[in-house]
């Protein structure tokens, strides 16, 4: 476990030290490979908790770490093509930052200690903020500043929330520890008022990082201005590990007997996120910002599933995987379209399917998948969340869930069809930025995985989702 944390860090140092602009992306590839092989090794022989129980390869970590590692590997391959095209930009910070991000995400997924979790989440913010400014334009700078300020605020609140939880267990007979296992074992010995206050602050803090409404304000700007590659890792990786952080906090709340309060807050925030996303996707003029609102929506879906609990929580775990991989497809394809047209405005882009024979159709298929069309994975995960809600007798919230999904399907469909269909002549074009193997094959591969997850869900994987949901206790 230590290996997959330290290997990317060491390679990040190599990337910072390396002088060659052309060879540096290869370090990224090495980092992705090392991490993926490390994770595969962990799956083959699951290790015991290390560092005094601070790091554990538990079900939730398996789900998110496996997904993140695959996504990073795919992005690393894509980066070879992407960075070769952008050779005029210095990529030292970009490559180094991505590797630090990989290490930080790994720590978040594995961490069983709320303090360590917090430090690692902070590191994900610090390592990505400079990368949003990769384009060196005024809007990119604005996006980076907003991202840094909003997320730092969220993280400060999360620290306060962590202190509250520590205090809740600080009384006589309390665990006096921030290890999840100790906190859960202490259960009702935790002071309920402080656990509740801690939950509120932690939800605000990590909810900011996930991008739940109304704390999502950094998201459209950051995703709109960042390179597609970074968008894929932010919406597929960083938000997923923030979801892990929220799930860990819910686990503590459940043990302290505050789960009804925590779940109601999650369902409320989840529905609010979906409502807000559906309001802002309608009439969106920028297809990358549209994807950002779609990310707000899907974080809402995850919070909703976790809040409803039972079968829906298991569905939320499945959905976390589907959302990460499908967002990877969409952002990489959108990045290719953006590069080829030199614009991300819906008015300027038509006929992407003709000009980009792989990325254009992929954008369409990715849209169908993310909005929950069968036979892709997200259909089944969203369906099991809905089923869980109906089964629990919560017809009103289930109805709202379905309504928002329907609105978003129609609104996103209108935009995506405009971009993909039609005749590209007359649209702006950047020469020599068509599809190549390195930029088109990675999202295609991810799409195939999402399709496979829909067609056939292996039984061990289903068991893993159930185990993770049971661990969270909802």
């Amino acid at each position: 476990m230590i290996f997959i944390v330290l290997a990317p860090l060491a390679l990040a140092a190599v990337a910072f030290a390396l002088g060659s602009q052309r060879r540096r992306p290869l370090v990224l590839l090495a980092g992705g490979l090392a991490h993926l092989s490390g994770v595969v090794a962990l799956f083959r022989s699951p290790p015991a908790p290390t560092l005094g129980g601070w790091l554990e390869f538990d079900p939730l970590a398996r789900i998110v770490l496996g997904t993140t590692s695959v996504l990073f590997m795919v992005c690393a391959v894509y980066a070879q093509g992407y960075l070769a095209r952008r050779s005029e930009r210095d990529n030292r910070v970009f490559v180094g930052g991505l590797l630090v991000l990989l290490s930080a995400m790994t720590v978040v997924a594995l961490s069983q200690h709320l303090g360590l979790l917090w430090v690692a989440i902070e590191l994900t913010t610090l390592s990505t903020a400079p990368l949003i400014y990769f384009e060196r334009t005024a809007p990119a700078l604005e996006a980076a500043w907003k991202y840094l300020l909003v997320c730092s605020l969220g993280i400060a609140f999360a620290l306060l929330g962590t202190f509250f939880v520590a205090l809740a267990g600080g009384g006589p007979g309390g665990p006096r520890s921030l290890l999840l296992a100790d906190l859960v074992r202490a259960g009702s010995a935790l002071s309920p008022g402080w656990v509740r206050a801690g939950f509120v602050f932690l939800l605000v803090g990590y909810g900011t990082k996930m991008g739940l409404a109304p704390l999502h304000s950094w998201k459209p700007d950051a995703y709109g201005e960042a390179p597609g590659l970074l968008g894929a890792l932010l919406s597929g990786g960083v938000t997923s590990v923030a979801f892990v952080a929220v799930a860990r906090v819910v686990q503590v709340c459940g043990a302290a007997g505050e789960s009804a309060f925590a779940r109601a807050a999650l369902v409320g925030m989840g529905l609010a996120s979906m409502a807000l996303a559906s309001a802002f996707i309608v009439g969106q003029r920028d297809f990358k910002r549209m994807l950002a609102y779609s990310s707000v929506e899907h974080m809402g879906v995850l919070a909703f599933g976790l809040g409803v609990g039972g079968a829906a929580a298991s569905g939320a775990m499945f959905h976390a995987v589907n959302n990460s991989l499908t967002k990877g497809v969409l952002f990489l394809a959108a990045g290719n379209i953006h590069r080829s047209y030199g614009s991300k405005r819906v008015e300027d882009v038509r006929g992407a399917a003709r000009r980009l024979p792989v990325s254009g159709p992929l954008f369409l298929v990715g849209f169908l998948a993310i909005t929950g069309s069968p036979p892709f994975g997200p259909f089944f995960s969203e369906f099991s969340i809905l089923f869980g809600a109906v089964h629990a007798g919560r017809f009103v919230v289930a109805g709202l869930f379905l309504l928002f999904l329907a609105i978003i399907f129609v609104a996103m469909g209108a935009i995506v069809l405009r971009v993909v269909q039609g005749d590209p002549s007359g649209c702006p074009e950047v020469p020599r930025h068509g599809d190549t193997w390195l930029t088109a094959a990675p999202p295609l591969l991810l799409m195939a995985v999402v399709l496979a997850l829909g067609l056939f869900l292996p039984r061990p994987l289903k068991a893993l989702f159930d185990a993770a949901a049971a661990r969270v206790g909802s």
Partner: protein, 215 residues
Amino acid sequence: MNRWTDSLFILVVIIDFFLLAASRLRAMIRAAAAQGALLSLLALVLAWGEAQVGHTIALAAGALVVKGALIPWLLYWAIHEASIRREVEPIVGFVPSLVLGALGVGAAFALSSYLPLPTGAVHAYLVPTALSTVWTGLLLIVTRRKAVTQVIGFLVLENGVFVFGLLLSDFMPAMVEAGVLLDLFAAVFVMGIVMFDINREFSSMDTEKLSSLKD
């Protein structure tokens, strides 16, 4: 001893009000630095006579160096380097900010009497001071226009969190505390770097200009 501790807490809250009313950038930075220095003193005074003396001294020294000297110096340097105008530009006026700040202090006292500490009271003023300092930081971030003032606001907010953390210093692992100081430093540092680029790009550090991205 106890009277001293009382007055330290009260000073921290007074500095909160001073920051809300300050109209000059340099005065604000100096006040934030003074608050940081007070915090390191607080850490020492509160842990007087307790077991982990070495640990507390390290924490206090860290707070003094980072909050009291290093970051204020960085901010001064940033103002000088980017030749920023010296006035604070409030979105919400000084008097309304003060009123809001006072409301926050009242709410903090009400909340802390409503939620008793499970550890037994370290000091009656600790929780309200922490919460009202957090509130002041938040107000400064939201109601002041310049990037530098937002960084100061963030610093004040982190000061509040630090005060709260003093409650836990006897059983929280040292690593987490070191992480707090390091992360604070790193956050402000990165903010500083970005600020210079804001300056180069727009020739002013007014975050109002950073508002072209909206729906």
